[in-house]
Amino acid sequence: MKNFRTILGKEFRRVFTDYRMYLALFLPGFLIFFVYTIIGNVVSDTIVNRTYEEVTYRVAYSDNHGSILPNGEPSLLNAITSYVNASETEKGCKVESESFPVSELSSYQDKLINGEFDIVIAFDDNFEALVAASSAVHPNISIYYNGNSDNATHLYQVVSSIVPTLYNTYTVNMENGEDIDPNISSGDSTARQVMSMIFPMITITLLLSSVMSLCPESIAGEKERGTLTSLLITPTRRSDIVLAKITCLSVTSLLSGLVSFLGVALSLPKMMNGLSFTFPIETIIALFFLILSVLIFFVLIASLVSVLAKSVKEATGYLGPLMGVLIFLCILPSIADMSALGWAFVPLLNIATSMSLLFTSPAASVVFFVCTILSNLVYSGLLLLAISKLFNNEKVVYSN
């Protein structure tokens, strides 16, 4: 253990007294912050803050809503009109509306496609009364819009944001081809959906990048320069050398990953135009363990590749395509359902899926999370054994 500490000390000294290493470690995080912030500002200026002046929005709604307002219109229409009148980005805009019998919904959908309306709203029978009575029955509201029209898309976004506030979404389901989870009733849900897609990919890519910038240098670089041989002729157990290197790489990569994560976390709200999100402490702790788990896994994979490679260039060459495969695995949970428990035993895919589930359905992800952590521990142990074995193999270690 004494030699483990000595080598660990030297490895840290190597990293933290070299300004180039600081750049490699911390620059990506700062760059991410600046790039994402700039992208956010540009998006905000061009799309989110776009003004819709003197537009006439045409709304069709079914007449079965069971109005509780004196004018007989649905309260949603009132809210839309109030919003348009009050909004500074909708100067001179008007809302025209038309009611229709719910039995004619399909013909109004056709009119929507033909551009006669921007949005068509279909209520369940007696919708307003059921909402007002906080009934156990959850009435449905279907909203259709023509995605080819900018105005229609914008109006749909306005309506989507009004519905949960207006009706208290605990009692309302909203349809437009996609369901809103009645348990999530604010903009938080959008943030969670976005985070479940973005977080695994960005986090894993950032961690892998920082591991890639350190691992080949620490192992293949030492092999290439002949400094590893100097270490191997000393009376030091190979396992001490491997553990010291991996500990240092994990800690420094984690630091680098945290800086990158901070960059993402600080710039993401700007990128998402102020959408905020809150997570319970358990989710944050679970995320920490997942990040730690994936980090150790990456360090071990990159170390294995670096031990087998003859030079830094060769190691980087092998790790490049590997990164592509890993990123693909990270994207997979956002395009396909990977929540079956069996996927918890597929390395990396399990991490990406676990992260995704933590954002979308935290309660359902507990078993998946536990299986992910345990299986990754087993894989990491096996990789560690393999690396230690390779360090004893003269064909591999002295391949130069």
Binding site: T229, I233, T234, P235, T236
Partner: protein, 279 residues
């Protein structure tokens, strides 16, 4: 007197009277084979999938003497030294130190050896001072001894003046001096030096030669490999000539050079083995 692969030399060891310790290093029937891939087979113009780099080499360097391993490039000198330094494992044969196979307790043996080769490099980012301390700690040397050894070796090699300069900023000669000092940090009983004066200027080379003689008088077992005849003639007590992985000649320098110079002996052997071909 010629002894070929039959264990101990028939000649008397030199300088034994000065030996303070009686360590014993025995190298017996050492063989090392390397696998060749198809590319290597092609470049070597051979169909064999195996390269025998060292073939049945035996010798026993003794305390208080310098053993010179002489041979052309590719003769197997470095491979032999690497096996003695535990970097490579012999395909067959044995190396024993004080009667015990060195692989029985390899770390215990490593504590007692000092190895220097041009392929062993120092981390360019650190200073000689830190590197000496770091390597000494790995050998289990206590802090007080590290300070004393550092003062002694840095003084002898003239490292003091650049001990705080990063190794990447040192000249080849300076680096070689630092490597030498570090290889002796643990006060080893067995010193294995591959081309020890390579890259050194004449003054530094002389200092190293003198220091090797000092170490010899302390009873250390010293093995040096080189292709410089004059260095062997100046330092070695016994000589082994390796050609094509075989120990072609082994004996005391005095006896080997009784009738003619070491250079003539070497080229006579080389011509006999290679049939007059120079490779």
């Amino acid at each position: 007197m010629i002894v070929n692969n039959e264990g101990r030399s028939l000649l008397l060891p030199a300088q034994m009277s000065n030996a303070k310790t009686m360590n014993e290093l025995n190298i017996q029937h050492l063989c090392k084979e390397f696998d060749l891939n198809s590319k290597q087979q092609k470049s070597r113009k051979t169909d064999s999938k195996v390269l025998k780099a060292v073939d049945d080499v035996s010798f026993s360097p003794r305390p208080g003497e310098i053993y010179g391993l002489l041979g052309p490039n590719g003769a197997g000198k470095t491979t032999t030294l690497r096996m003695i330094a535990t970097i490579l494992t012999p395909t067959s044969g044995s190396i024993s130190f004080n009667g015990k196979d060195i692989h029985q307790n390899v770390n215990d043996y490593r504590r007692k050896i000092g190895f220097l080769t041009s392929e062993l490099k120092l981390d360019a980012f650190f200073t000689p001072d830190y590197t000496f301390q770091y390597m000494s700690r790995l050998y289990g040397v206590d802090e007080e001894t590290i300070t004393k050894r550092k003062a002694l070796l840095f003084g002898k090699m003239g490292i003091e003046e650049f001990k705080d300069v990063k190794i990447k900023n040192l000249s080849t000669g300076m680096k070689q001096k630092v490597s030498l000092a570090i290889s002796l940090a643990n006060d080893p009983d067995v010193i294995i030096f591959d081309e020890p004066t390579n890259g050194l200027d004449i003054i530094a080379a002389k200092a190293v030669e003198d220091y090797l003689l000092d170490l010899k008088s302390e009873g250390k077992i010293i093995i040096i490999s080189t292709h410089i005849f004059s260095l062997v003639e100046k330092l070695a007590d016994r000589v082994g000539i390796l050609i094509d992985g075989h120990m072609q000649l082994e004996g005391s320098l005095k006896e080997i050079t009784e009738e003619t110079s070491l250079e003539n002996v070497f080229f006579g052997l080389y011509d006999r083995v290679k049939g007059g071909r120079v490779e």
